[in-house]
Symmetry: C2
Subunit: 455 residues, 2 copies
Amino acid sequence: MSSIGPPTGMRDWLPQDALLRQRLMETISSVYRLYGYLPIDTPAMEDLAVLLGKGGGENEKLLFKILKRGEKLAQAKDELADYGLRYDLTVPLARFVATHQGKIPKVFRRYHIGPVWRADRPQKGRFREFYQCDIDVVGGASSAYEVEIITATERVLNELGFRKYWFRISDRRLLPLLLTGYGVPQNKISSIAVLLDKLDKISSMELHAELNEILQKDSSPWRKLRLLIDRASTNVDHTVLLATVLEHYEKHFSEIDPVVKVEIDQIVSGLGRIIKSVRAINSNSRLIFHPILVRGMDYYTGPIYEAVVEGCSSAVLGGGRYDDLIGQLAGRKIPAVGCSIGFERILSLLQEREAGHAVGSVPRALLICDEQDAALLQQQAERLRNEGLCIETYLDHDDVGKQFKYAETAGITWAIKHFDAASSSLTVRYLPDRSDHLWYILQCESYRIILLYSA
Amino acid sequence: MSSIGPPTGMRDWLPQDALLRQRLMETISSVYRLYGYLPIDTPAMEDLAVLLGKGGGENEKLLFKILKRGEKLAQAKDELADYGLRYDLTVPLARFVATHQGKIPKVFRRYHIGPVWRADRPQKGRFREFYQCDIDVVGGASSAYEVEIITATERVLNELGFRKYWFRISDRRLLPLLLTGYGVPQNKISSIAVLLDKLDKISSMELHAELNEILQKDSSPWRKLRLLIDRASTNVDHTVLLATVLEHYEKHFSEIDPVVKVEIDQIVSGLGRIIKSVRAINSNSRLIFHPILVRGMDYYTGPIYEAVVEGCSSAVLGGGRYDDLIGQLAGRKIPAVGCSIGFERILSLLQEREAGHAVGSVPRALLICDEQDAALLQQQAERLRNEGLCIETYLDHDDVGKQFKYAETAGITWAIKHFDAASSSLTVRYLPDRSDHLWYILQCESYRIILLYSA
């Protein structure tokens, strides 16, 4: 039984990781709260009917279903399950909104961080139980909500210490219109969109080969598109780029339907207004227009966006407006706009960044059991805790070397070798290899500290 | 579809409750961290074999099982499920310890707060998805760990503002020994234990009736027990009570086996030492010896304890030493002592206490949309957020009365009617019925505040 572990594709969280996860949740929460967003939660399970919706289809395969129980199982014919574990936080949100109509405000700003389950084939970085983090405004039709969500989300990235990122924006409707204008046949548009979605991950040779195959060597749309892709490289000023796109399609769209042209014009100016507003609020914004942006989900109805962090080939977060989805269960149209933060991806970036540091752990000290008995040691520890110090006590009578060893393996930075209540002095041994030197010095203001550096 | 809701016996968490839950988790976590305890987490599911252990039995009925998928379901004969949802946090802890042997320190202090699932019949206050909160020391054999757990847990109760509580302690082995000494036949002991476990919930008439039935009107053991029960009333000094019990059994145990007597003596002195140590650490401790204490779980092997809060008929938390359970999956004996905080019960006590107050909600202000356009409003809001204020903006052009109304229904305390960046002044309307007056005044130090009290 010694190789016993968690279920396939699922993870235990040891303290270091559990703490880091908690810190990430707290950072995200505190930023969105600043914007008036509040947390909600829903059960891990939902009725199968809610989860499968009308179609079922793709999602059904991903579902962990809950076996019926007792009588109901005995009588069950085809369907052996009654509930399923949620596979995202969007379906539960739609159900939540339908359930609590009247109790939630007209414009409902909420965030939801929690685990979801998918019976996917586990792969590196892909789990069967993982955290999602969704922020949405339900009931807000104005594009001012996009501005708010983007501003708040950029603040999250900054709080997390990401400086080298780009926040790309486009509109779900734009790329198909542009491709049409370039002369791409309607039946090729979705293949090209899929290809462009992979742009960050494939080489330019692969891109060419695939484009050639899709467009059957008709290079004219490709040349026009090429200009757009080149301009959409991440370090171009957004105003230049916007102007380029406008100018670009002025030049190339002479033959297309004026109605389509008006539509493109409206979409591009709408995006321009969002970018301008965001930059007026936050002059450090790294929001850029990215006309070839494709977000996988087909439920988006308007602006879409994503953030890419330097050194990471896929987006760390993404979102957009989806006005047709949330109201489906409530039976009326409810506009909505949101953002899904790639919680697990960001967590693994933080883990890499902090590898070797004890940053994720709570700074704490070990009170060494020297000659005192346990009862006295515990009284001393409590006095230090009353000062706000996290103090662990070593309660067995092992020799001091063994106790230091324990502190090191348990990730404890400071070992208190002697506590003199009369003179308020602590004789402290600092265990190297840890980087949170300063914490205890700062926290121990009420004590005179005698430092013993270990060899 | 408008009556759609969460699955039977499960709950949605609206913001107010989600925030309160989060606050409770944070309070509990911060106290245990002070004592060197760290968080862990485990998946919602475990292998069925892990959950059912050797016996299965009672637990099997409570289990939500996960239906096998694809091929495996098609080929399944008897057992249609492979995983189950965890029904407590103790079995996952045992599995966690078996999985991560060598990675966790010899003395492993951990806390774990998370949902568990039980396919119970839902009742008032009993849910099919609910939170548990467990604190345990794995690998600590000394009774100094009981002292630590009790001290830390009393600190939690204090932090939560519970002043009128009793923390009762006994030893799992004591009551059967005492009952034997009083002459209760061996086959009646467990019935009497079950009865004593209900003592807080039944009337003294019911108690008498049931005792009479069990003891078949042999009133001699009952009279002796009576004295113990009377003395075990909650407001007796523990030293008096300890002495009474010692004296009491000296008097009544003349006929019993001297070995048993030594055993009782050791147990009672052990408890005496724990109580003395706890009181030496914390002079406000409300730990009392409660010789008739019975905790349901039969896996306890030594000291057991629980806390009862005035006005609440069942214990709000309980725990004890259980040296035989954790090592079962690891294949070796591992001593363990812990405490399970009745998370949901405490949450509902906090909800009652705070009903009508907006304490659970995040203090935030609504920036009213007056004449400015949304873009300007959002710039102003961001300046206030940069000062650490939680600011929600009203982004539709509704009339001001409607905006105040929204603030009230959304639980927002302050409405900012006018923000003058030049003079750093805020004209603020206070929405009554809320009790967190001071927050904004304190937070807004950098602004001159002009208060408009609403009619």
